[in-house]
């Protein structure tokens, strides 16, 4: 088992390398660059743009060599200051700093600076994580709970009216485009009924921007009002996320439950004369939850990577929206940081799901 985990973990490293390499190359090949932010500014001269790009070590028209250099700089094998593979102290740049290596790049634990804000990428991301976590954790808890409830009841009462209605609704919501559902919700509940605010995390009129020091100061003065305010903004995006995700997951729970209900040990339990509820809860439900739990594990990266679509529609300034902002501004280093974090989470969650499944289900061989 531990050998299996070790081998799989080692396999992650080339996979991650491939991901960041491909992403970086794609991004550099895309037309435009971070300098496009000066397009609208007549006071910025060409020379200033050149100097600005040189300071970021970005080639205006990328060629294979410049992509290697820039990727090397981000990765930590190349040093932009010395324009070589040697660090400022003369050692090879990829060595640890203490051994004469450089201090730039991810192998030295440095994600670099965001080009737009000139803040460390880590800080920019850390600033957005609370907003995303509030949205995604509430949504995840609600949709998993509802999906399990609906799926189990639909499976136990198979072909009943309830089952048919749940199946039908699951189909509808599974097929609806998330962003369209969001737009319609905004129109109906915000514009027409005026029940909930259409966009944002906090009311801009009454509160400072979310997650700023001023906000937390105001939060400290009246926590209840602050929480209620966020809650009101949370309802629409959470509802959209829950509706869309319940659809697929409740089908999954139902299928897993049905398979479990057809097992021999369930028939044996029934034949022994056990109560129906005991059979369902003790024999069927527990076993049916195994694949469901691994499925939930696969959803965990979503907690941090955020919901790009929903956050865009509702202007929820979290990780998903940060990603879109990064793509629009060609903020290379911010994007690379986001991609590295997101794909690491996805790959690790996959591994964890496989391992958990192999541990709890003795029928699975892992060699």
């Amino acid at each position: 088992m531990s050998k299996y985990i070790l081998r799989r973990s080692l396999g992650l490293i080339p996979l991650l390398l491939g991901i960041v390499l491909i992403s970086f190359t794609l991004m550099k090949l895309a037309p435009g660059g971070p300098q496009t932010q000066f397009n609208q500014n007549p006071r910025v001269t060409e020379e200033q743009i050149e100097a600005w790009l040189a300071r970021w070590c970005i080639e205006r028209t990328p060629n294979p060599l410049s992509i290697v250099r820039e990727f090397g700089g981000w990765f930590g094998v190349f040093n932009c200051e010395t324009d070589s593979f040697l660090s400022e102290s003369g050692g090879l740049n990829f060595l640890p700093t203490a051994l004469g290596g450089g201090d730039n790049g991810i192998i030295h634990g440095d994600l670099g600076l965001s080009i737009v804000s000139a803040q460390p990428v880590v800080d920019v991301i850390a600033e957005r994580i609370p907003a995303t976590l509030i949205l995604t954790s509430v949504a995840l808890v609600l949709w998993v709970t509802f999906a399990i409830l609906l799926g189990v009841v639909a499976a136990v009462k198979r072909y009943s009216v309830f089952d048919q209605v749940v199946t039908f609704l699951a189909y509808i919501f599974y097929s609806l485009p998330t962003f369209w559902l969001g737009l319609m919700f905004i129109f109906f509940f915000s514009v027409t009924l005026r029940w909930f605010p259409p966009q944002g995390i906090v009311s801009a009129r009454d509160w400072p921007p979310f997650n700023t020091p001023q906000y937390w100061e105001a939060f400290g003065m009246d926590p209840l009002a602050a929480i209620l305010d966020i809650g009101a903004h949370l309802i629409l995006p959470v509802t959209v996320l829950v509706l869309v995700n319940i659809a697929g997951d409740s089908r999954f729970v139902r299928a897993s439950m049905l398979e479990s209900l057809n097992q021999d040990y369930v028939r044996t339990a029934k034949a022994k004369g056990l109560k129906r509820n005991t059979v369902i809860m003790k024999h069927t439900f527990r076993n049916a939850m195994l694949p469901v739990v691994t499925n939930i594990a696969l959803n965990l990266p979503f907690l941090f990577s955020g919901a790009i679509v929903t956050e865009t529609i509702f202007s929820w300034k979290g990780m998903g929206l940060l990603f879109i902002e990064g793509v629009n501004a060609r903020d290379y280093f911010l994007l690379m940081g986001l991609i590295l974090i997101t794909s690491t989470l996805v790959i690790v969650a996959n591994l964890v799901a496989d391992v958990v499944y192999a541990i709890v289900d003795p029928r699975i061989r892992y060699d």
Partner: protein, 324 residues
């Protein structure tokens, strides 16, 4: 689904039930000669598919949508680039008057019905052609990996892992910006090259398990050639899941086009697609004109639902082990 609740008639699996029943009834008790008609896999599948009401409904809707996509811009008498309000300062206010324009008008005074009809061509063809490209690549690579095994299998599957682990939307957004310029054809190619890895993994798994199945071993034992085994024995058994994935790819491509266009990374502003119409409407939604995003969005939603229902019907119909 309602049809699975019908009592199973054991005769139906192998005989053409309707005609047989009729002949028995006519012949009465005197003559028991029953005309047994054997049906091949496809006829059986078609019969199962026909009973799936939602799938038939979905197919009809998709057929109508494809007809609109093909004929709509030809039959529709107005030019989509003729925007009545374009020259007026501030444009025409969007209005909803079903008597003049069934679905209302947009900011430029264009009818939303027109956006839906003209947009169908780009949106539906992106769905269809993405499905074709991605399914071809996915099935080929999956079958190759599953059948060849060994090093080639390992290499192809590592590549699939890589494709699946890269943030999907990032690649689409960047690629759409890079190759795009908002051309529908480029979007189709980008989608086609990105939607296949999941299917390839599925096909490989199917081939791996079917390769060892008893009926394949039996076929091999009596000397059936590899090609014939692949296409006549394995493919019909793998077809159900493949077709279902294909429909999912089509549904996914239509929604992704809409979303990518919605973020202004997709179809250029001078073309009309459903996602494009939605994107343009977003800025005016807070003024209360719901009809502008509603109808193009409805077109997307209904098409995707139809495609998913077809997939569901095909899953039941193409399962060779299905009793009905």
């Amino acid at each position: 689904m309602a049809d699975t609740m019908e009592p199973a008639d054991p005769l139906r699996a192998t005989t053409a039930a309707a005609s047989t029943d009729l002949k028995i009834a006519e012949a009465g008790t005197a003559d028991y000669e029953v005309a047994l008609e054997s049906l091949n896999q496809w006829q059986l599948a078609w019969r199962r598919f026909r009973r799936h009401h939602m799938a038939i409904l979905g197919s009809s809707f998709l057929f109508i949508m494809i007809s609109i996509a093909v004929l709509g811009p030809i039959v529709w008498p107005y030019d989509p680039n003729d925007i009545p309000g374009a020259l007026k300062p501030g444009g025409d206010a969007p209005s909803l008057d079903p008597l003049t324009h069934l679905f209302g008008t947009d900011f430029g005074g264009r009818s939303v019905l027109q956006l839906v009809i003209v947009g169908a061509r780009i949106s539906v063809s992106i769905g269809l052609f993405t499905m074709l490209i991605a399914t071809t690549i996915g099935v080929t690579i999956g079958a190759l990996a599953g059948f060849a095994g060994g090093r080639l299998d390992g290499f192809l599957m590592r590549f699939v892992d890589l494709m699946l682990a890269i943030p999907f939307l990032f690649v689409i957004l960047v690629a759409a910006r890079f190759f795009g310029g908002g051309d529908p054809l480029t979007l189709i190619i980008i989608f086609g090259l990105l939607f296949w890895p999941g299917l390839a993994r599925l096909v490989r798994a199917l081939y791996l398990s079917l390769r060892e199945a008893e009926f394949v071993q039996a076929a091999r034992a009596v000397g059936v050639s590899d090609t014939r085994i692949t296409f006549r024995h394995i493919l019909p058994n793998a077809l159900g899941p493949i077709v279902v994935s294909a429909t999912l790819i089509m549904a996914g491509a239509i929604v992704t086009e809409a979303f990518v266009s919605f973020l202004n990374f997709g179809i250029r502003a001078t073309d009309v697609s459903w996602g494009n119409a939605l994107a343009n409407s977003q800025g005016y939604l807070l003024q209360g004109n719901w009809w502008w995003p509603f109808f193009p969005g409805m077109a997307i939603a209904l098409t995707v639902i139809a495609v998913n229902f077809i997939g569901d019907g095909l899953r039941d119909a193409l399962d060779p082990r299905s009793k009905e």
